[in-house]
C-alpha cells in the first residue's frame, strides 16, 4: 500500500532524509522509531506531499504521490504530531469538516465519534476539552471513512492511559480490516500492543527493521542488584561481579549482561546475597544505543 524508495531531503546543510526506504503492506502496522530529529516526521510529511523531496519516490496504493498528491491523499488518513483542530468550533463541527473533505456524510462523523468515545462531548468546543480528548478528535479525523493507509505521527503524545488504550484499539481494528498503518512513536510498548513491525530510523534512513523480538534479540539485559555486604567498601564490586561490566548506582550494582541467570548464580556462588534483584529486558533505548555504536564502529 505504501512504497517509499530512496527519499532524500535537505534543508540547506542539514540532511533530514538520506535515502529512506520503507514499505507498508495492507493489514500491516509499521512503527517508525528513532530519536528526535531522526527524520520520522519529515518522512511522513513527504508521503503527504507537504514537503517535496530532493530525490526518491513515494507510491500510495499504486499512485505516484509526488505526481498525483491529491489522489494519494484521498487514500490516506492522517493524525499529525501537532494538534490540528479548530479550537473555537465544536468537536462535531471539526469532524463534519473532516468528513466533508473526505467526501463523506455526517453519519461518518458520528460513527467516528462513537468509535473514539467522544459522543458525549460532541457539542462542546475543542477549547474546553482535555488534552487526551483533543487527541481523540484528531485521531477520529484520521479514521474517518476507513482510508486504506493511515499515517499516525505520535498520535498519543500527552494522552492518558485510557485514551491511549482506546486509540490503540481503534488503530488495531483498522489494521485488522486491512488498512496499512505507519505509526511513529517513542513508546515501544505501544508498538508491542499494536503487533507492529519496527523500523528504526537514524540520520534520515531506516537502519533496522523487524519484530521487537528480532531487533532486541542479542541485546544485553540490565540487571540491578542490591546486596547484603556488611563490612565491605562500596567502591569495590563483590567477588561474583569481578570481570563483569558492573557500575555502582547508589546502593545498587547495575550489570549489563546477555545471561542474567548466570550472573545471579555467580553472585550467590561467591557468597553475595542479593537483597533486591531487578532484571530489565533490553529496551528501545538500548536498541538506539546499539545502532549508534554500530555506526560509530563502522565509521
Amino acid at each position: 500500500m505504501l512504497e517509499v524508495n530512496g527519499l532524500v531531503k535537505r534543508y540547506g546543510d542539514v540532511v533530514a532524509l538520506a535515502g529512506l526506504d520503507l514499505q507498508v503492506g495492507s493489514g500491516e502496522v509499521v512503527g517508525l522509531v528513532g530519536h528526535n530529529g531522526a527524520g520520522k516526521t519529515t518522512a511522513v510529511e513527504v508521503v503527504l506531499g507537504l514537503v517535496r523531496p530532493d530525490e526518491g519516490s513515494v507510491r500510495v496504493g499504486g499512485v505516484d504521490a509526488l505526481v498525483e498528491p491529491r489522489k494519494a491523499r484521498a487514500l490516506t488518513g492522517v493524525a499529525a504530531q501537532d494538534l490540528q483542530l479548530y479550537v473555537t468550533a465544536t468537536v462535531r463541527q471539526n469532524l463534519a469538516l473532516c468528513a466533508g473533505l473526505a467526501g463523506l456524510g455526517r453519519h461518518a462523523a458520528d460513527e467516528a465519534l462513537e468509535e473514539v468515545g467522544l459522543a458525549e462531548v460532541a457539542d462542546r468546543r475543542v477549547t474546553v476539552l482535555s488534552g487526551g480528548q483533543r487527541r481523540r478528535v484528531q485521531a477520529a479525523c484520521a479514521l474517518l471513512g476507513r482510508p486504506p493507509l493511515l499515517l499516525l505521527d505520535e498520535p498519543t503524545v500527552g494522552a492518558d492511559p485510557q485514551t491511549r488504550s482506546a486509540l490503540l484499539a481503534a488503530i488495531r481494528r483498522r489494521a485488522d480490516e486491512g488498512a496499512a498503518v505507519l505509526y511513529t512513536t517513542h513508546y515501544l510498548p505501544e508498538l508491542v500492543e499494536l503487533g507492529a513491525t519496527i523500523a528504526a530510523v537514524r540520520a534520515g534512513r531506516v537502519v533496522a527493521r523487524g519484530s521487537q523480538s528480532e531487533l532486541l534479540a542479542g541485546l544485553p539485559a540490565r540487571v540491578v542488584v542490591e546486596l547484603d555486604e556488611p563490612g565491605r567498601t562500596h567502591d569495590e564490586p563483590p567477588a561474583g561481579l569481578v570481570g563483569q561490566p558492573a557500575e555502582r548506582d547508589g546502593d545498587a550494582w547495575v550489570i549489563r549482561t546477555r545471561d542474567p541467570g548466570g550472573t545471579l548464580a555467580g553472585l550467590v556462588r561467591a557468597g553475595s546475597l542479593p537483597r533486591r534483584v531487578d532484571v530489565q529486558r533490553a529496551s528501545l533505548d538500548d536498541l538506539y544505543e546499539s545502532l549508534e555504536a554500530e555506526v560509530r564502529h563502522a565509521a
Binding site: Y11, T41, L48, G49, L50, V51, R70, K71, R73, A74, T76, V78, A80, D82, L83, Q84, L85, Y86, V87, T88, A89, Q93, A96, L97, C98, A99, G100, L101, A102, G103, L104, G105, C141, G145
Partner: protein, 251 residues
C-alpha cells in the same frame, strides 16, 4: 455514497469559515454600524469642501470600511496557520485554489451585506443617486475580489500574526488614505495626488464615483486595473499555499 467533489470540499470548508466568523461577531457589527454613522456626519462637511460631497462621503466610507474584508480573510488564514489546521487541509485532497476560495466566501458574504447597507442608507437618507446600478455592481465586484485576493496574498506571505497586522495597517493606509477615501483627493497635497494611482483604493473610489455617474469607460478602466491586481494577488497566494511552509520557517 461519498461525494468527493470540489463543491463538497469547498462547502465543508465554507461552513466552518462561517462558524468561526460568527464566533467573533464584534468586528462585523462595528463595521456595519460605523460607516453609516461616519458618512452621516461627514456628508455635510464633504458637501461644503468639494464637488459631489454626498457621493464622496458615501463612496469613501464604503471603500474605507470594506477593508474589513481584507482583514477578515487575512486573519482567517493566519488563524488556520497558527492552529495548524491549514496543514490538515493540505493533507486532504483539497487544492490550494479550493482552500483559498473557501476562505474567501464568508468575508465576501459579509462584504456584500455591508456595501448594500452603506449604499442603501446613502441613497435613502443622504440623497445618493445611482445612475447605473449595473456599473455600480461591476465596480463593487472588482473592488471586493481585489480586496480578498490581496488579503489572502498578505496572509500567506507573512511569517506571524504581528507581521500580518503591520502589513494590513500599511496596506490599509495605502488603500484608503492615498486612494482618497479618507480625505477627498483634491484636498491632498499635490505630490500625493500624483502618486495616488498606485493605490488600488484610487481605482476603487474612482470606479464607484464613475459608476454613480453612469460613466461606463471610467468604470471599465477601474475594473480592469482592479481585476489585474486581484489576479496577480490570487496567483501569489495560490503559489504560496502550494509551496507550503516548513516547520522551521512558520512563526
Amino acid at each position: 455514497m461519498p461525494r468527493d467533489t470540489s463543491t463538497g470540499r469547498v462547502t465543508a470548508m465554507t461552513r466552518m469559515g462561517f462558524t468561526l466568523l460568527l464566533r467573533e461577531p464584534g468586528p462585523i457589527v462595528s463595521r456595519l454600524v460605523m460607516p453609516v454613522i461616519l458618512m452621516s456626519l461627514l456628508a455635510p462637511l464633504y458637501r461644503a469642501a468639494a464637488d459631489r460631497g454626498t457621493e464622496r462621503a458615501v463612496a469613501g466610507q464604503a471603500v474605507m470600511f470594506s477593508l474589513l474584508a481584507m482583514f477578515l480573510v487575512g486573519q482567517g488564514i493566519m488563524s488556520e496557520r497558527t492552529w495548524r489546521t491549514w496543514d490538515r487541509l493540505r493533507c486532504s485532497p483539497t487544492s490550494p485554489a479550493e482552500m483559498l476560495a473557501a476562505k474567501a466566501v464568508p468575508p465576501l458574504g459579509f462584504l456584500v451585506a455591508q456595501q448594500a447597507v452603506v449604499l442603501g442608507v446613502g441613497a435613502a437618507l443622504l440623497g445618493l443617486r445611482v445612475h447605473h446600478l449595473g456599473l455600480l455592481l461591476a465596480t463593487e465586484a472588482a473592488w471586493v475580489v481585489m480586496l480578498l485576493a490581496v488579503g489572502m496574498a498578505l496572509a500567506t506571505l507573512v511569517r506571524s500574526p504581528a507581521e500580518l497586522v503591520a502589513a494590513q495597517d500599511v496596506g490599509g493606509l495605502v488603500l484608503t488614505g492615498l486612494g482618497g477615501a479618507l480625505v477627498p483627493l483634491a484636498l491632498l497635497p499635490h505630490a500625493a495626488q500624483r502618486i495616488a494611482p498606485v493605490s488600488p483604493g484610487y481605482w476603487g473610489l474612482n470606479g464607484l464615483l464613475a459608476a454613480l455617474d453612469g460613466d461606463g469607460p471610467a468604470v471599465a478602466r477601474s475594473v480592469v486595473v482592479l481585476g489585474a491586481i486581484a489576479l496577480a494577488a490570487w496567483a501569489v497566494a495560490v503559489w504560496r499555499v502550494r509551496r507550503g511552509w516548513s516547520r522551521r520557517d512558520l512563526m
